[in-house]
């Protein structure tokens, strides 16, 4: 039901306040009484009265033709602004040139890139906002804004419709004969049951399993610790107390999967006062120099915020904090396991080398880790 309310008075109130029960009353039992044939139930006495719609207010554009023309000009101005924005964006892209190759004068290059992006951004913003704001302004000022009431029809069908639907289903089942022909029923069930098998076969071939990749790193006994990114092996005597050096295993850049290997093998080298180290930490250390995996045991972020005064290592992602002097134990945050240490010693020439690989998988837990 839809009724246009005439503008210019409270005539709509007659309709709006008429006792039409759009919703069935709810009796005290809590069960909604749904009339089978529609709108015959009288409104109950405790229901508040429908206040109806407020009187329609005329806009200035409804009463003043000059205001209407002004709004028309404004809408068309906004659409013109949109067109100008589109052209500006194209002009900004075409007119502001910058060389394809990165030039020597980086500042001038960045300045022209910045000018180009700003013109394009402002142009596209004007183009989209001009269209949107213009359309809304048009609808609000010039299109009719009279109120309408459209009643919702009841969700429930009549009892006859419901009985019809049940009959259709029962008739369909009887006509298919599924109850009488078990051969068809069983073969259908069997075919449906094996339908997902191709998906299992296809998904089973998705990529190789990680195998030992999650458990092993590039580190092996005897590999030198090489500075990252400058290169060059590190001597034990190079590190003073409080030093921090980021290292990679020597030769890691010659592997085929350089990035994968580097992501697992990143190690932070710290030198502490040997007196501060606990026994377990000192076992893997060399004269106070400890090497530790940089990959957080929580989510795998690089843990490298080293506070040399407190010898705490902080992970920037979730604030897990590890104590470098005490076995890199978790002293704060969501990580559950200490960072794995790399046992180190020195070779004949005094360069730091790995005594072994990590004794456990680096990084966060994974399904097969157990």
């Amino acid at each position: 039901m839809s009724e246009r309310i005439r503008p210019g008075g409270g005539s709509g109130n007659d309709q709006a306040s008429s006792p039409v029960p759009d919703h069935p009353p709810v009796p005290a039992t809590g069960r909604a009484v749904v009339p089978a044939t529609g709108r015959t139930v009288e409104p109950s006495a405790d229901r508040f009265e429908n206040p109806g719609l407020p009187p329609h207010q005329e806009r200035t554009t409804d009463t003043d033709p000059r205001a209407a023309r002004r709004a028309e000009r404004q809408v068309s101005g906004l659409f013109t602004l949109s067109a100008l924005g589109t052209l500006t964006a194209v002009a900004g892209y075409v007119a502001v040139r910058f060389p394809d190759a990165v030039p020597q004068n980086m500042d001038a290059y960045l300045a022209s890139v910045g000018l180009s992006t700003r013109i394009i951004g402002l142009g596209v913003a004007a183009a989209l906002l001009g269209l949107g704001v213009g359309a809304v302004h048009w609808a609000k000022t010039l299109m009719p804004d009279t109120e309408r009431v459209e009643s919702r029809h009841p969700m429930r069908g009549t009892d006859a419709e419901r009985a019809d639907a049940v009959d259709i289903l029962a008739e369909g089942a009887a006509e298919s004969g599924i109850g009488r022909r078990p051969l068809i029923r069983n073969s259908l069930l069997g075919a449906a049951a094996i339908l997902p098998v191709p998906a299992l076969v296809l998904l089973g071939d998705l990529g190789p399993l990680p195998q030992e990749n999650l458990r092993t790193t590039f580190w092996r006994a005897g590999l030198r610790l090489v500075r990252d990114p400058e290169g060059g092996a590190v001597k034990a005597s190079d590190l003073t107390i409080g030093s921090a050096v980021h290292v990679m295993p020597e030769g890691i850049d010659e592997t085929t999967d350089v990035l994968e290997e580097r992501a697992k093998a990143a190690v932070l080298l710290l030198r502490l006062d040997p007196a501060q180290l606990t026994d377990a930490t000192a076992d893997d250390a060399y004269q106070g120099i400890v090497a530790v995996s940089k990959i957080c045991t929580h989510m795998g972020c690089p843990v490298a915020l080293y506070e040399q005064r407190t010898h705490h290592l902080l992970c920037p992602c979730h604030q897990s904090t590890f104590d470098a002097a005490d076995n890199f134990a978790v002293i704060f945050g969501p990580a559950k396991r200490p960072l794995p240490r790399l046992p180190i010693t020195v070779d004949d020439e005094g360069y730091l080398i790995a005594r072994n690989g990590f004794d456990q998988p680096v990084g966060p837990s994974f399904w097969e880790r157990g």
């Binding site: 806009r59 980086m106 990114p229 590190v234 590190l239 040399q308 904090t321």
Partner: protein, 260 residues
Amino acid sequence: MTAPTARRRRPLARAALLLTGLLVTGAAYTAVAPGASSATAPGAKDIAAGHDLFLANCATCHGVHAEGRANAPSLIGVGAAAVDFQVGTGRMPMQASGPQAPRGTAQFSQAQIDQLAAYVASLSPGPDVPSATAVDPGTGDPARGALIFRTNCAMCHNVSGKGGALTRGKYAPNLTDVNPRHAYEAMLTGPESMPVFNDQTLDPQSKRDVLAYLDSIGNSPSPGGFSLGGLGPVSEGLLAWTLGLALLVSAAVWVGAKAS
């Protein structure tokens, strides 16, 4: 034996030859050897003046012999570079106890800082104040510096050098507008929470590369318009959530309001 040969073999001539050789070697070494980093080596007078300054301004916390106390580390062996950094950036003398000494205005003249540094350096050898040419960002390679910065510094100081938070109120300070000499000294000495990057683990040229990178990010224009502090997703997200949502709500209110 002929007479001239005999004369040459005289003990006096031998001593004279030795003396001449030593003088020549010494003079040549003085000419070739790298000069001291400061223009003039500190004399006993500077050390004495530095000692007076130390007793008046530092000894309360660091002890009259710079041996350190419960809350203040020993200064024996920290070297002149540590003094020049801490006092030159206004961190020391510390204004109030707290998790970290904040950067401030230097409370001494450079001459007084040099005297203090001379006194502390006289206690035990330590890193010296680098010369002006050693900290010239113009001699560094900013691209290589960016690689080194990304691995060694960015986790605390932010990849754009804007600094960041550490634990329990400590923080890595903002590196924009830091005097290159002070930045170099900080790498050399590892002040407060910062690790030490001595000349063996990070050679002087690499340090200058880092200075060149800091110089280049401090001076390059921001191609994206507002940099919003260069802090990354934190400030950008805050702006998007507050200003963006406010704009969306205003637009919804405007669309829903009746025209007058």
